[in-house]
């Protein structure tokens, strides 16, 4: 499998009220063309890891190396983070326009990805006129529209109601499996074990803070995966053991 990204020995400490908080204690990971979930208890540093990969934060030591010529990254934020004064279309096109793409070209591309998430008809709406699930779809379309090699997702379904979350999960999975996007690797941060098994090829389990890799689990179940299958249940048990280890 071709390599997309190598993360080697990332360390990070924060200083808060003169107390030193070690968050990442040396994280290494090879990422191929796959869907990876990063799983760990709340506050363990998963999001910090994702933010370092995205370039939002600097690690104290260690590095993130891309093996692909194109290093573009899409980021699906936990909350939709749409600008309320821009329409759906303008929101999706904004990163493109900021990177110098011509206006009509940016809009055309934005429309393409809005169609993929099923929101083409809502392109002239403002974010306040959309439901939570629709806003999160716009967030995803914006991340895909920059045509990234790597897609990062920070607990993308955690703020949605269970029904919306479930249908959005399978939509994202379909987009990934059918290869209709430029994305070659996905890294998703989550604290939902069930969601991680349902979606990913490999699951990286982190320890409580300071985070180390407790174990990496391959999920070889055939898709679509059935939550009630005994294999699924067995994996779930194994992961819970790893988390509490």
């Amino acid at each position: 499998m071709p390599k997309v990204l190598t993360i080697s020995n990332l360390r990070k400490t924060f200083i808060e009220d003169k107390r030193v908080l070690e968050v990442l204690a040396g994280i290494s990971l090879e990422v191929g063309e796959e869907f990876i979930s990063i799983l760990g208890p709340s506050g363990c540093g998963k999001t910090t890891l994702l933010r370092i990969i995205a370039g939002l934060e600097k690690a104290d030591s260690g590095e993130v190396v891309f093996h692909t010529p194109d290093k573009r990254v899409g980021f699906v934020f936990q909350s939709p983070t749409l600008l309320p004064w821009l329409t759906v279309l303008e929101n999706v096109a904004l990163p493109l326009r900021a990177s110098g793409v011509r206006r009509d070209e940016a809009y055309e591309k934005a429309r393409k990805y809005l169609s993929l998430v099923g929101l083409r008809a809502f392109e002239d709406f403002y974010p306040r006129e959309l439901s939570g699930g629709m806003k999160q779809r716009v967030n995803i379309a914006r991340a895909l529209a920059v045509e990234p090699t790597l897609l990062l997702m920070d607990e993308p379904f955690s703020q949605l109601d269970p029904l919306t979350a479930e249908s959005l999960r399978s939509e994202v999975l379909d987009l990934w499996l059918y290869g209709v996007t430029t994305v070659r690797a996905v890294i998703m941060v989550t604290h939902n074990v069930d969601e991680a098994i349902l979606m990913s090829d490999r699951i990286v389990v982190l320890s409580p803070r300071p985070a180390k890799v407790n174990g990496i689990i391959e999920v070889n179940l055939p898709r679509p995966r059935d939550r009630r299958s005994p294999e699924f249940q067995k994996l779930e048990d194994r992961i819970y053991e790893l988390i509490s280890a």
């Binding site: 980021f75 909350s79 004064w85 821009l86 904004l94 990163p95 326009r97 900021a98 920059v146």
Partner: protein, 503 residues
């Protein structure tokens, strides 16, 4: 005919000054405000400085600043710049704070989003910063515009001892006609001024507030629509050009350090050069004036207190009726916009009959000028921010349980208004000290009214050309104001925040 022509030219010149000052203030507010919101260092440096600048009597420092500029740039240009500069100082502070607070209130993940998708400074400016503070810019413009007119005449006619500067404009025309006892000129000047103020509100600010803030204000939207689409078109084009330029050239909107340092040095040298004539040698002259400062302060303080109380009571009552009826709200707001804009210096000649006819006349006129510099801050804060914060569910609760009249005021209305009332009172407190300079002493056509007090002390120092005394008293007054801000007001704010802010 000649008069009409002169009136029109003078009004056009004054309007041009106002608009240039407004545009400068707008650009300053957006750049300084967003810079403060983005950078911790700049924030901790500028926040206290602005806090002081906002509440000190700018009028007291102005003659010195004007002299500097007039010497630096010979000819009319220095004077023009000085006038625009004074108007800017009366417009800009609340606008900066408005931009700063609305960017601070922005969801921090928006900044992450900008970082992940590599939005450059230009893209952030056009797509995030400016749209995010649109509402607060319009709300503050409404108040600032009136404040600008209020100080317009002070910017057009300024004397420092023997040196007197006069710029052609509607403000100086009104004062000139009055001192020449040309009543026709005086009254038509005031009428044209009022018409110009009314027109700018009806054609521009009110429609803008209706569109952006959904405030009930009377206006004629046609002109605003044209301006809006023109500005929108130009703005969109500029955004397009600058963001693509930014991408092509990499980040170029940052000046390299050496150039910044050189610019700072140049500015310092220019100030030093122009200040050479202003030697502070006559500090001895300042000493006797300064020694009378405490006594004069004691005379002005009760006036300021009375003015604040009156402003408080009047604006709560008016706001109450405005809250009950849309019609009242529209009428009162319109009247407020025009009355608040009438230049400070015009009130004395306008009410000169009153001032001369009754022994209490001068005191009443003084109080009116004082109120002009204070009342509107409270009033506009209530109308623009306060009434919006009276919660609909509390109002419905009051209707259901028939809470009306005084109990309604006492338990629902006033508590809901308190946060914006406190903000308004703080501005009014600074504003009334500034107004004291024009309220307590006036020299019009040979007749002088001297009401004593610290404002009069400052005005007299300016009239005698005693720069040292002028600066010393203004500084002492600023110090006093800042001291009160840091002790009394801060506590009041904290109390209100704890008790009445939020749930």
């Amino acid at each position: 005919m000649l008069l009409l022509q002169e009136l029109l030219i003078a009004t056009a010149l004054s309007l041009a000054r106002m608009f240039s000052a407004y545009i400068i203030s707008l650009l300053l507010a957006i750049s300084v405000g967003s810079w403060m919101a983005r950078s911790r260092a700049v924030e901790s440096l500028l926040l206290p400085v602005l806090d002081v600048l906002q509440s000190i009597p700018i009028l007291g420092f102005f003659p010195a600043a004007l002299l500097l500029l007039a010497r630096l740039l010979p000819g009319g240009l220095g004077l023009e710049l000085a006038a625009v500069f004074l108007i800017v100082t009366s417009l800009v502070w609340n606008m900066i704070f408005g931009v700063y607070t609305s960017l601070k209130a922005l969801d921090p993940s928006v900044y992450d989003m900008a970082e992940v998708y590599r939005l450059g400074p230009a893209a952030r400016f056009f797509f995030i910063y400016v749209p995010a503070c649109r509402e607060s810019i319009i709300a503050n413009s409404l108040v600032s515009w009136a404040g600008g007119w209020f100080f317009l005449t002070s910017a057009e006619v300024l004397s420092l001892g023997e040196e007197e500067y006069r710029l052609r404009g509607i403000g100086s025309l009104i004062l000139d006609s009055f001192s020449r006892e040309d009543l026709a000129g005086f009254y038509s000047g005031v009428a044209v001024l009022l018409a110009a103020i009314l027109a700018t509100y009806l054609l521009l600010w009110n429609p803008a507030s209706v569109t952006v803030l959904r405030l009930p204000l009377p206006g004629v939207p046609a002109v605003f629509e044209v301006v809006k689409s023109a500005v929108g078109y130009a703005w969109g084009g500029l955004a397009q050009v600058l963001t693509s330029l930014e991408v092509k050239l990499g980040v170029v909107f940052r000046l390299p350090r050496p150039i910044k340092a050189a610019l700072l040095l140049l500015a310092a040298a220019a100030v030093a050069y122009s200040a050479r004539g202003l030697s502070l040698e006559p500090l001895r002259e300042a000493a006797p004036v300064l020694s009378s400062f405490p006594l004069e302060l004691a005379k002005s303080l009760p006036r300021v207190g009375l003015v604040l109380l009156l402003s408080l009571g009047l604006s709560v009552v008016i706001a109450y009726f405005a809250h009950l009826s849309r019609g009242v709200s529209m009428a009162v707001s319109m009247a407020g916009e025009v009355l608040a804009s009438i230049p400070a210096v015009v009130w004395w000649p306008l009410l000169s009959n009153l001032a001369l006819s009754h022994p209490l006349g001068p005191s009443i006129v003084m109080l009116i000028v004082y109120l002009q510099g204070a009342f509107w801050y409270v009033y506009f804060n209530l109308i623009v921010y306060g009434l919006a914060s009276v919660r609909k569910d509390l109002d419905e609760l009051a209707t259901v349980y028939r809470v009306r009249g005084l109990p309604y005021l006492r338990y629902v209305f006033v508590p809901s208004l308190l946060p914006s009332l406190a903000t308004g009172l703080l501005s009014a407190w600074g504003g009334s000290w500034n107004a004291s300079i024009v309220a307590e002493y006036v020299d019009m056509g040979g007749r002088t009214f001297d009401m004593q007090g610290v404002g009069s002390l400052i005005s007299k120092a300016a009239a005698q050309g005693n720069v040292a005394a002028l600066l010393a008293t203004s500084l002492a007054l600023s110090l006093f104001i800042v001291l009160v801000n840091k002790t009394l007001w801060v506590r009041l704010f904290r109390f209100i925040e704890r008790r009445y802010g939020g749930e």
